[in-house]
Symmetry: C2
Subunit: 87 residues, 2 copies
């Protein structure tokens, strides 16, 4: 299972676009805060397997390529437990 | 631009997995509530252009294929304005 604290430690590069707690800095990027951990894992693995084209895949595919299963689980645990808050 | 009220009217089929207000019924499906509208549009268009494989693309690609740009904008407007609430 993922470790949210470890995920926080690995989230610096994600925070660049998705924000430090998963509230995206621009509308083109998805919010990750409060998203389902299983879905976050599924998305990261899809990028890692080069299964997603279009959108921001040109950025996300290489990002995900360097992540281990544990990294993915930790990052998913971290962002899924953040609060999106009122828009 | 999208019309949230019109989007609500078109959201019945989405609600099956994503919940009536975008809080997914199962962890494998993404929450849509409070997600950025521009990202929701980008995702639906990626599915519509068959740019996403893996995950639930087998379900989402045909779903998106039948949507017009206006449908996509309305659905994005609707779900993005819903509240995710405390997990």
């Amino acid at each position: 299972a993922g470790d949210a604290a470890a995920g926080k430690g690995k989230s610096a590069v994600c925070a660049t676009c998705h924000g430090p707690t998963g509230v995206a800095i621009a509308p083109m990027y998805p919010n990750l805060a409060g998203q389902n951990a299983a879905y976050l894992e599924s998305s990261l693995k899809a990028y890692r397997k080069n299964e997603r084209k279009g959108g921001m895949s040109a950025v996300m595919t290489p990002m995900a390529a360097s992540l281990s299963d544990q990294d993915i689980a930790d990052l998913a645990a971290y962002f899924s437990t953040q609060t999106l808050g009122k828009k």
